[in-house]
Structure formats: C-alpha cells, structure tokens
Amino acid sequence: MIKIPPAVLSRVAKPARYTGHEQNCVVKDSSRVDAAFALAFPDVYEVGMSHLGLKILYHIINRRSDAAAERVYAPWPDMEAEMRAAGIPLHTMESFRPVAEFDVVGFTLQYELSYTNILNMLDLAGIPLKSADRGEQHPLVIAGGPCAFNAEPLADFIDFFVLGESEEAVDDVAAAVADWKRAGKPGGRRGFLARAAAIPGVYVPAFYDAAYNADGTLAAVTANHPAAAPVVTKRIVADLEHAPYPTKPVLPYLEIVHDRIMLELFRGCTRGCRFCQAGVLYRPVRERKPETLLRLAQELVDSTGYSEISLTSLSSADYSCLKDTVGLLIDRFKDQGVSVSLPSLRIDSFSIELAQEVQKVRKSGLTFAPEAGTQRLRDVINKGVTEKDLEEAVGAAFRAGWSGVKLYFMIGLPTETDDDIRGIAALAYRVLDIYREVKGKRGARVSVSVSSFVPKPHTPFQWYGQDAVAELERKQQLLKSLFKDRSISFSWHDAHVSFLEAVFARGDRRLGEVLLAAWRRGAKFDGWSEYFKFTVWQDAFNETGVDPHFYAGRERTADEVLPWDHLSAGVDKSFLEREYRQALAADPTPDCRRGDCRVCGVCQGLGVDIIDWGTSS
C-alpha cells in the first residue's frame, strides 16, 4: 500500500483528489481476485469522477466475486512532479496499490487531446508505453470509449480496444481474464490476446498490419492472426431497461464537474446531425421506461444524498415521456430538497415550459445550439431547426422571465461561406430584437460561443477536409468585427486545438510516434488551455516527419481506405456517403425514430430496434 507523505499533500492543490475514502467506493482485496482492473481516466479527478461510463464499468466489475475494479485519475501536474520526485508510482484510490500490479489497466477515451495523458499515466505507473515492450509481468492495457472507433493513433500503446457499449463486453473481458489466470495463463500475453480477439467488439491492433500506398494513403489494414476478424463491430445493449445501472456511485468530497445525480433517460439519438459522431456511435434510440427511471432515481437519492437530479442523454428533450417523467420526479422528491434539471435543451417552446417547471435552469441561463447561422447551412448539417423555432423559443423564454441566452455555433462546416458567418451575427442580433419586441425595452444578454468544426470518423463528414487554421482564424475575426453591441459577448475556441483534434480523430498508426515525441517534449493535459502548447506539437511533427495537414486538411475520396474502415459502428459506409452527398445538396434527412427508416444499417445489422415508449402509450 502506498502512503503519500503529508508534506506532499500539503504542497499540492486540492489534495482530496488523491486521498480516497469516498463514500460508496468498493474496497476489495484486489490481490485476491482473479481479475483486478485499474479503471483509468486520462484527465483530472473532477473530470473523471463525472463520467457515467466509468461508473457503469466500476459497478459491473465489482458485482462479480472473481473481479475487482479500482479507480485512478491523471494526477495534476503539481502532484505528478511530487510523485516523480518522491518515487511514488501511479496507484489506485481504493487500495493505494500500484497500477502496475493490476491484471488490467483500462483507459476511457473521451477526447483526442487526452492521449498524451495516457502515455504519461503508463509512464508514471512504470508500465512500458508500447505493447510490444510489455512482458508477462505487466498488466494488459485496454481502452474503450468513443475514440476507440478510430483506434489507430493509439495502436502501438493499447493491447486491445473494446468497441461500443461496454455493459456486456466488460463481463466477457473479466471472465476471459479470470479463466486465463485460473488456467495458468496459457500462451502468456499473446495467448490471452488471441482469446480476447474472439470476444465480439474486441480489437487487438497487433493482430493487424497496415500497408500504405506511395502517396501515403492507406492501402489496407489486414488481419495477421487467425483469431482476428476482418472487421470488428461494436457492442450494443439491446435492452437498456434491464441493463445494470450504477445506483450507488462513488461520492466525491471535492466538487466535481457534474456533482449531481445523473439519470440516463435513453441512449442514442436519431436526429442525424451530420457532424455528430455520438449520433452515429450510439444508434439507435433506446429509451428507459418512466417507472424504471423513477426507481433508479429513488435508489440514487437514497445512496447519495445529492440535492439535484440531472436528466442526461444526447438530447434529453427528445425523451418521449419527458413531461410525465419530470412531473413524477418533481412530485416524488420536492419535499426532500431534491431538484430536477435538464442540461441540454432543444430549441422549442415545449422546452421552455419544461425549463420553467424544473426552475433549476434559471440560474444558469438558457442554452441553444443552432450550430450554423443560416438555414441553408443548417440543412447541410441536418440540424433540424429553423429560425422560426429559435424565434419562438427565445420569445417564450423572454416572456417567462429569462433575459440571458447562450448560443452555440460551429465554423468551418462543409460548404460554409462568409454569408453563413454573417448569419451567426444576424441571429444574435435577432435575439436582441426579440427581447425588445417582447419586453418593449433593451436588456437582453446574448453570449455567442463558436467552436471550429472537426470532421470525425463514422460521420457523413468523415471525408471532409478541415479548414486551415488561418482560414478558421480569419472567420473568427470576421465574426468578431460584426459584434459591436455590448449586450453580445463573443467567445471562440483556439483553432490549433481543433486542428490537432482533427489530426488525431482521422489519424492512422503513424501518429503513434508523434504522440511519443510530443509526450517526451512535455505534452500533457492538452485539453486544458493552460497546458496546451502548439509549438510542442509542431516540434513533434517536425521530428517525426509526419505532416499533420495530410490528416486534418485533406479532403478524402470515397474510394480511399480509411484508418477506421475495419472498425464498425454498425452504420453502413454507403449510408454515410449518401448523407454526405445529400449534405452538399443541402437536402435534409428526417429523424428516423418514428417509422421513416433510412436503413443506416444499425438496426438491421445488429439485430436491435428503436425503443420509444411514446409510440406505444
């Protein structure tokens, strides 16, 4: 057991990030189970503790008698420096055991800019960074999460990936590890990887070879091992109603990012926004029943004592029984000082009504995401909202007493022109006008937040060449010059960050060396603006001779082999191609949820169905 000296804890910021003993944490003797998992989140405690997926894994593994799951987060750089100086290895929060002593180290991949933190954590744990350098004594290093759907930039470092929803896959992996250990580890690491490769959804990168064409594009990724399938397809939970849900989550002392009960209403989204990767990865929509949600909420209130229930999903307002469920939850919990909140709201007046009911939103203001400034561009990206929707919703919000509105947009979208950029400013001014029309006076506050579009794998825009950084910056400046009213505040994201995201989102195996080079030059916590240094990355690209523009800015042709073609989210590539063509023609595709199936392939290929309780009641 590792003991952190008081002198270390008294020197670092927020020492409670590292001292454990949180309520509801599960402390088993992990050295006595057959499969001990260190669940690692490559970001700081407050971010990692807020992640629902990790809570689910923790719960599922710990209910097994032959397995244990413990947690570990990336130490903040002040703590990392102390750990390196004092020779303290990376360790878990439950038993303070070194991560290197576990059977499995599992990373959650949420964001491309957390990749250097993975390398840093492996290094702090004393585990060789590259799979090929690990011996029989080292843990199996595995990873899952949305970024696993393009696993290639991490292929050198991760022993195997698990694609898709992990509820069932993690049980399969735990059982396989336990069996293999009880059998005396036949075949060693490679023997285990062959067993793992037979589990649906598991991708073992070492069992595949990548070949390249003369122009640098990918020629093929082919299996070199009999256990490796030509295409690995994601796992999916067909019946969310009966899926395990973590109703006794670990309760932090520190205030974390989402410090409240998270109630997942449903999974998936069928609106089909063409930029949205989650919309593809989590297809189709599967809802939980209101009575199930009420039961889960009760268990969560009882086990946490939280005073807020947040209804989470990709677009919570799309839940077919939302109004009833919100009413039921408010009635059940109002006397216990527990409130209900909706984090993401669609633009319509129905949402405003609900927002009024849950009240909680009033504090934070209302947030709308039109994403693009003109109707033409919203049709290109298939964001099914009109200016009239926005006007009605904002008008309703102002009438209901709100005076502040946040608007989210993206720039750099396919087919975008300067008129679309001007449209963003026009929409913001329109909101100010609506306030004047409704209230008869000035006084609205509008905050406009603009991010840069990143083309993501498995989306209709996966082929699109990202705007160059200079072009994105020009558009930011153009927009800035259009905001002259003090009631409008304007913020934008660093274009270099979006550029790097695009490089890794659409990268291949050759980026592994770049990651290593950047990490050696000190890159870590790249998702945090105080640590992001683009020059470090420039040096890493120069050193390795890898051209980042080849990955981010190049428009790819339909016949090009993509680095993620052997990893399937269940959605057909031909569907994505069709959607891209329709996008260029500004031709929208309706929501497939109510009977208008566009045959994207998920329901047919994976044998699942849309589950929508609103249609059956």
Binding site: Y18, L254, G305, G337
Partner: protein, 231 residues
C-alpha cells in the same frame, strides 16, 4: 414545531485533506441519506439549516467540531445519532448530540478558543534546538507577524492570540500543543504559528510535514473552558 440540535463531530484522518466547504457538503448529504427531517430555508434555492462553529483549513483534522442543525420536528437524540452514524462517511463521527433551544446563541458567536496539536517529525538531534525555540517563543513579550490575505497585509502580534506553546517529545519527533484565541477582530491559524516558530525562532522543522489536529473548541473566560455542547 421545529427543533434545533447541537452536535459534536470529528474530522478524522480519512478526511483530513477535505476542505471546510466539502466537509460541510458531505455532512449535508449524509443528513439527506439518513432521511432526517431536515428543515430547509424558504426561497428559490432552499438550503439545509446547518451552521458550523468555525472553519478548518485543508489538511487540519479535528477531534471536536460543532454544528447546529434544525429539523422540522423533534426527534429522539439517540435515534438521530444512530441514523446519522449509519450514513456519515469514514472519518466523520458523531461524538455527542443534544437538543438546544432556538434561543441559544449561534455557535459562531460564542466560541472563542481553539486548541490544537501539531505533530512534527524531527530527527533526534533536532529535539534540543526545537525545545529551545519553543521556550524562546514562550518568553517573548510580543511576536510581530505579517498576516497576508487577498485584501492585503496586516501586522499582528502572535501573542495576542497564543500566549504559550507546550512541547512534548514523541517517538518520531515532537508534539506541540497550543490554544488559539478567536476574537471578533480576528485570529491566527496554527499553520501560521508554526511558520513563525520556524522563521523567527529557528524551530528546525519542515512545516509541510506537520500534521495539525484541532483537539477542542471552547467558550472560555478568565477561569474556565467549556465545550459549546455544555453551555
């Protein structure tokens, strides 16, 4: 009929590094889990009616903290203590609890003395010089110290708050005991007293390695010290 209770609780080793705000929030959550009929304030953002005697810094543990909580109706104190004990996180325990009348003065207003124990790891050779440093502090008539906070700097006399520090040898170093006066115009933190001992009196210790524990909070006058629970 609402009812007010005063509790003596701990902040043990497990939660030593938890901040005061986080400590309070953990207790509130435990109250909610225990389903005690807590009273809430009216208004848009209702909060539980809980008040603490005084805040502890991050890294400081305590053997005796005090909090007042208001419930919507009276409860048997024993049953209340048991319900809470089942739901408090490790390191937070209820030592005593009793009903107090609504007219009882607020905890914050009555507590005026805090006792601390500071455990210092010291090499054997440092024991003599350490004792001397403490005696020189005790002998000094006044000990000026510049207190810094976000609002600015202010010179204070440490002796206004701490007249004496006592030192006892332990297996791996030394234990300091001190009582700090809490006045309407201010006080001093034990970590600041330690800093003064190191900087001005050459106490041969690493302040970062010290473990500070509050051993008591009192309502004191010239002759007696009583705990806020015994008023």
């Amino acid at each position: 009929m609402s009812a007010k209770y005063r509790l003596e609780i701990t902040k043990g080793e497990e939660v030593r590094y938890v901040s005061h705000l986080d400590y309070m929030r953990s207790i509130e959550r435990a109250v909610r889990r225990s389903k005690l009929p807590a009273a809430y304030s009216e208004g848009f953002n209702p909060h539980m009616k809980i008040a603490f005697a005084s805040a502890l810094s991050v890294g400081v543990a305590s053997e005796a903290e005090y909090m007042d909580i208001e419930l919507t109706h009276e409860l048997d104190p024993a049953a209340m203590g048991e319900a809470l004990a089942r739901h408090l996180p490790p390191g937070i325990a209820v030592r005593r609890l009793r009903p107090v009348s609504a007219r009882h003065a607020a905890l914050m207003a009555v507590v005026n003395l805090a006792a601390y124990r500071i455990s210092l790891p010291l090499p054997a050779a440092a024991a003599g010089p350490a004792r001397e440093a403490v005696s020189r502090f005790n002998a000094a008539a006044a000990v000026p110290y510049i207190k810094e906070n976000p609002k600015g700097k202010r010179e204070i006399d440490v002796k206004t708050y701490v007249s004496e520090v006592s030192a006892t040898a332990t297996a791996d170093g030394m234990e300091l005991a001190l009582a700090v006066r809490i006045t309407p115009t201010g006080s001093i933190k034990p970590a600041e007293v330690l800093k003064v001992l190191v900087d001005n009196f050459a106490l041969p210790a690493d302040p970062d390695a010290a473990l500070v524990t509050r051993t008591g909070l009192f309502v004191a006058d010239g002759t007696s010290r009583i705990s806020p629970l015994d008023i």
